[in-house]
Symmetry: C2
Subunit: 329 residues, 2 copies
């Protein structure tokens, strides 16, 4: 669970604290020097010995790097103007290796863009009572405060995502990253057919809502859909988030479709050093032969998730600096 814990006051910073009655100046989004050109020029991380041409690859890593540069520039500006530093607190329960790796990546990413980060690690068998003991009341309040729900998982955020005329305070990071990839690559969404495979609360469902908000005609297929392949084969945009190794075959992909693969699965591979390699929910080679654009795994959606978490955290800090608390939804 990640939550914003920003605007820690730095000694010597020249402006009044956020609690001061004197209003803080608005931190307007500012043009920043983009690293886009350099990122685009770098070869995306395609799976080795792939027959999918590099021109079809969506360079999630490069785009995420660009976004992180943009964020770093904005953080520097915010610090200079307000003396405030965005911060991210992560509460990790249990010692799952993959979670630990993910948390380490988050902390590293925070440091790189100039955020503070705070961590609390608790054993997997922590009781609810113990959990409450370890975290201060304020932190718990912060944790449930929708203003700091930078994961975007609060049902109030999801409700606002679903409703026309409302805007969520935060959009869940992974589906937000999928849409960001489409938008940065100028993939048209309005009026197109989209198929979202999988309906999880953290990826599939919010991805469908985001596509629908952008005027796509969205079908969400799931484990109870009898003819997912045929439905998927009509889609101009496919977001695969079912968590099943290479479930989406080549024939599921309409020629020219854009394929966003959210899956990260370990697949046995005796030729690989570790005995396995990472693959997505899409059969990359077969789908890549038909798609016009496709995300590789790794190096596609993965890097975007943390970039979007940083973006949400910055947005939360920016609102706090402007004294906006849970604007009307």
């Amino acid at each position: 669970m990640a939550l914003a814990a920003h605007c820690q006051r730095r000694a010597g910073a020249g402006r009044p604290a956020a609690s001061s009655p004197r209003p803080l100046p608005a931190v307007a989004p500012r043009p920043v020097v983009l690293a886009a050109a350099a990122a685009a020029a770098a070869a995306p991380a395609a799976p080795s010995s792939s027959s999918v041409p590099a021109s079809k690859l969506i360079d999630g890593k490069g785009i995420a790097d660009t976004i992180r540069s943009e964020i770093a520039a904005e953080v520097a500006a915010m610090k200079a103007e307000t003396g405030l530093t965005p911060g991210l607190a992560v509460v990790l329960v249990g010692a799952r290796k993959d979670s630990e790796t993910y948390v380490r990546s988050k902390k590293k990413a925070c440091a790189e863009v100039g955020f503070d980060s705070f961590g609390t690690d608790l054993p997997a068998d922590v009781s609810e009572e113990e959990l409450l003991k370890h975290i201060s009341e304020k932190r718990i309040l912060d944790a449930i405060s929708i203003d700091k729900d930078v994961d975007g998982f609060h049902p109030l955020n999801i409700g606002c995502l679903a409703m026309r005329g409302r805007d969520p305070l935060f959009v869940p990071c992974t589906p937000k990253g999928c849409i960001e990839l489409l938008e940065r690559l100028h993939v048209p969404i309005a009026g197109r057919k989209a198929c979202v495979i999988g309906r999880s609360n953290i990826v599939g469902m919010p991805a469908a809502l985001l596509l629908q908000r952008r005027d796509a005609t969205v079908t969400m297929v799931h484990s109870k859909t009898p003819d997912a392949a045929r439905i998927c084969a009509e889609a101009d945009i496919v977001i695969a988030a079912c968590g099943v190794t290479e479930m989406v075959k080549g024939e599921w992909i309409k020629p020219g479709a854009v394929v966003i693969d959210v899956g990260i699965n370990a697949k046995d591979d005796p030729t690989a050093k570790k005995g396995y390699r990472l693959v997505g929910d899409v059969d990359f080679e077969a789908a890549g032969a038909r798609a016009s654009l496709i995300t590789p795994v790794p190096g596609g959606v993965g890097p975007m998730t943390i970039a979007m978490l940083l973006q949400n955290t910055l947005e939360s800090a920016r609102r706090a600096a402007q004294g906006i608390k849970a604007p009307a939804h």
Copy 2:
């Protein structure tokens, strides 16, 4: 806007008030004598001179009457056990004839099932300040209290509707009524294709979420969908809620599909007394020729909306009587 204002204490009722520290007994749902058989035997209100056979008609009025009988029996039992009476408060802003008619229907329906009802009518040009003056603070708090959001429109309710593993406190009345019709007629939903036409916050979007929760594969089509007819023609279940007179033509309907028509539109008809008649968003005759079941307009979805509002109000009162306030979502 409707909100629960239930559990008004009646003089002489035999139990402590809701504010008493002594816990009130749970009011369990109880078996009631159904009016279903009688309702099913009555001929549904089909449009006059229709060629659609009565066996295909979904008798929304009859089913709504059954539900209202069930609610009346439960209200009587609740009053006897707890001395509490469910109540519904309606705030009407402006003097639109159709809204006034709807509010009158709500009040009449409340009286019939034994609810109290409360109304506040304000002019259309009421300022927000005036609105706040006319309603007591408590009423405003009640209005925004999710425990009394019997319309089910609060984004927190919509968020819980969208999320797996969560349940909204209240489901919006019209889409809830659509699903209730399908379920009372034993129309299979899981594994079927559903097409929802229209994506309003109060009908289309929540209808899609409800179908999706029941494991249908749902496509929501809307004004930006280029080939709505073709998508609709693949659906086993069609919910039309686009607000366009008879937009859904016969060829949009897959033979054997079940068609729920939410629309109520006035259509010029010189043969009718008033010079118009009410029609839905579906071309009833043409669609009825292909569908296995279809709702007439009027007498289909319409009566279900108020029945579901009464059901939500009763549910709210039942929770209040049990001392459950906003159970974990």
